[in-house]
Subunit: 461 residues, 2 copies
């Protein structure tokens, strides 16, 4: 990792000449931009800028490059591995004012947006079209940020992640060139896949300023169900068999007994406090009934208890809001706590084994540790509740995360299913990917030879 | 483009020491490996080698690098843009003897294969599992070759292309290192997407030796239908509306009247010789009926005539074999001809317009030019039938292709939807991608600094 750099204050004057009052060096604004949802120490940038256009981003990149000042792209600050911490100082490039939907192509099922448009904003904008953007990581993140972290979430089992749902990106490169990574055609074999290279690059290879995303038709019928299981294995087997049968389940979320208890308390509900699947089915009226019936049978064969249904839109919304509140509901299990959120993903055949072994760790832990995840993808999270002022808590949580990651790696899994590398997952990259990590370093040096784009993230050169 | 290089014959001895009689310099073998399905002049390699393991590939890469000899990976030679022509000489690395299926993970819906396994071989191997590998470019290509060219085909509208269906790759790099691009977990956010960088790299960044592909459940019911339309626009609108309605059509192929006539003659069938959609539906019994009914109504609204059904497996197989024979059937329209196959792809909203404008060119042409394609993806092909010994034919065909590509680019399309760049599409890359092409050059230099992997393809440095 390169050393913290002296910040060249003369850059501020040039940025002000470019952006006027859309440059801030106030302590409050800098502090707000120096933290994310992770447990890492705050690392505020030296200044925060708010560009409105790709050309402004280009111009500010040229200014910062001349002064050798790091640039950290910022969406809404909901990342979880320290992605946006200004660990080497520099300028935070807050994209939130680049929030225009530029085009919606209903026939082509795509939309072009500025990077600061959030997923909820886009869905609100297109709701009259009968189309929607499915990727739902919980937080109302920006599409630029979601592209940069290769975000995923509850709908990925059916609709894919940002990897599958970004058609093209506009990117400002380190030398100030503006490129479009691909045409808007649905597929192309025209050379190296630059789009996918920037999806998941976490602001380290270029600054994403526009995103072309795929849209999907809102299905005629949607139905959700809750099903409790005596064992995690039964829940996992149900989902495996569902996928093997080709049933296009739209969501399949696993929540542990502790999470269900936290949700009940937070939402004043009375679900069984057992391992539970939250399922959702999308399709025609007839196919949703058929899908649900087939999954219900599989669940019963695997020890699942009765399905509780949520078929009305408001019931469905309430159910998924509850799921999205899981993180905050869990925080209430230990007042004043912060969470260390883990993020392993394993081949689904190993999921139950991985969860069961992890549960043994959880039982021995000194703090409450809810577990939930996207079982259809083999991806699950622990929410390790720590007192941030208690070094013993932090140490215990870190050790537990290390064991979890090593367990997942031993099962052909990955240290991060969807949160990304940031600074938190770098220590595991070589164990996971071997010499391929060196190729990533080569890519970083090729795209950003002066190491000015979000330095110290993904791969340290 | 770099100049043809002198071939260092001493490399043959070293390769023989490594591979024994799996090194050939015979004229027949070299000639066989010096052509593909394109119209480009033969360019035989100086030698052909047949490795059996990744380690042998590594060792031969090390030998060739020391002698600065180009290496051209080769599957079954069905590429269409000159991908495997040894235009700078060198060693053809024929992967066809690396044809072992290494693992099938039924619960995880994936398989690990050596790069020389073909798609039909894999499907035969796994047919007892209830799973299948869907990507179907027509030819029985190898999975390594299909990865390298980012292949696609008739099923892509539902199942995606190789981009979406490769989980991980084992690759030998230019310096002899062997990397695995990703773990086997279904998703990951662990750093730059190396997998997608090698998918579509056409052997220019490394040699793919193993492929981990996603498998999909064979659906309970499959049904195919043929529907003729008075106009191309009606057929295109039917497919657009089908996709907008969220109907998960598995295949939606458009064939022009000329193609239908060629197919009738070749297969002794009696389909209407009009623009025609070939459709396929996958799902449960009930959902296939429902899908087909909905599409039938859309087709009728757009002027479509009656559906002819193929519901029995043998009828379906016959229908799709007929479709796959379209290329050969079309060659019969002009005995002794070779085909120049074009490959543009446009946003689907522009497809009918692009096809109709292209039809005007076809009407003016001196040779028969059937048109067919994957209408659900906006991707279509002309089969321009030329007498290869007639320079006027070649000139006319090339001019027609140039106009077609420029038309597609003007409609936000791409010069290649699925065939790849090879040598044939390089002249259009800058018009399509602007400065992004320079990034591709940077990538090539980073991964292959001595320009030994399939030099002169994708991007010339």
């Amino acid at each position: 990792m390169n050393k913290a750099r002296d910040f060249d204050q003369s850059v501020i004057g040039e940025l002000r000449a470019l952006l006027g009052d859309r440059v801030s060096t106030s302590a409050a604004v800098r502090e707000h931009h120096g933290k994310d949802e992770s447990y890492f120490p705050y690392a505020p940038p030296d200044a925060v800028v708010f560009p409105h256009t790709t050309e402004e981003v280009r111009d500010l990149v040229n200014i910062c490059r001349r002064h050798r000042v790091p640039m950290i792209p910022y969406g809404v600050g909901t990342s979880l591995e320290g992605h946006i911490l200004a660990i080497h100082g520099g300028v935070c490039v807050d994209m939130s004012q680049m929030n225009k939907v530029l085009a919606v192509h209903e026939q082509d099922l795509d939309a072009v947006v500025q990077a600061g448009v959030t997923r909820k904003q886009l869905n609100e904008y297109i709701k009259h079209t009968g189309l929607f953007f499915p990727i739902d990581p919980g937080a109302d993140a920006t599409l630029g940020g979601m592209s940069a972290t290769r975000a995923s979430g509850t709908n990925a089992v059916r609709y894919g992640t940002m990897r599958e749902n970004v058609l093209s990106l506009k990117v400002v490169l380190a030398d100030g060139r503006i490129i479009q990574t691909s045409r808007r055609a649905k597929k192309s074999a025209a050379g190296y896949d630059l789009t996918r290279l920037f999806v998941g690059s976490e602001g380290t290879l270029g600054i994403i300023t526009e995103v072309t995303v795929k849209l999907h038709p809102v299905q005629a019928a949607m139905s959700a169900a809750v099903c409790a299981f005596p064992t995690i294995q039964g829940a996992a087997d149900t989902v495996i068999q569902t996928l093997q049968a080709g049933i296009p389940v739209a969501r399949s979320e696993l929540l542990c007994a502790t999470t269900m208890a936290a949700l009940n308390r937070y939402n004043k509900t009375s679900h069984r406090e057992m391992p539970t699947l939250l399922l959702e089915f999308h399709g025609t009226e007839a196919s949703v009934v058929e899908q649900a019936k087939m999954v219900q049978e599989l669940a019963r064969d695997n020890g699942g208890l009765d399905f509780q249904w949520a078929t009305k839109p408001e019931e469905r919304t309430r159910l998924w809001e509850a799921r999205h509140h899981a993180y905050f509901a869990c925080l209430q299990l230990k007042p004043g706590s912060r969470a260390i959120s883990t993020d392993v993903c394993v081949p689904i055949s190993r999921l139950a084994e991985c969860v069961v072994e992890t549960t043994k760790d959880i039982e021995k832990a000194s703090m409450p540790i809810p577990l939930f995840g996207h079982v259809g993808d083999g991806n699950f999270h622990l929410v390790i509740l720590i007192d941030p002022d208690n070094p013993a808590d932090v140490k215990e949580a870190k050790a537990l995360n290390v064991r979890l990651v090593k367990r997942a790696l031993a099962m052909e899994g990955t240290c991060t299913g969807e949160h990304g590398v940031g600074i938190g997952k770098q220590p595991y990259m070589r164990e996971e990917l071997g010499d391929a990590v060196d190729l990533m370093g080569d890519l970083k040096r090729t795209f950003d030879p002066e190491n000015l784009f979000n330095p110290g993230k993904v791969v340290s050169i």
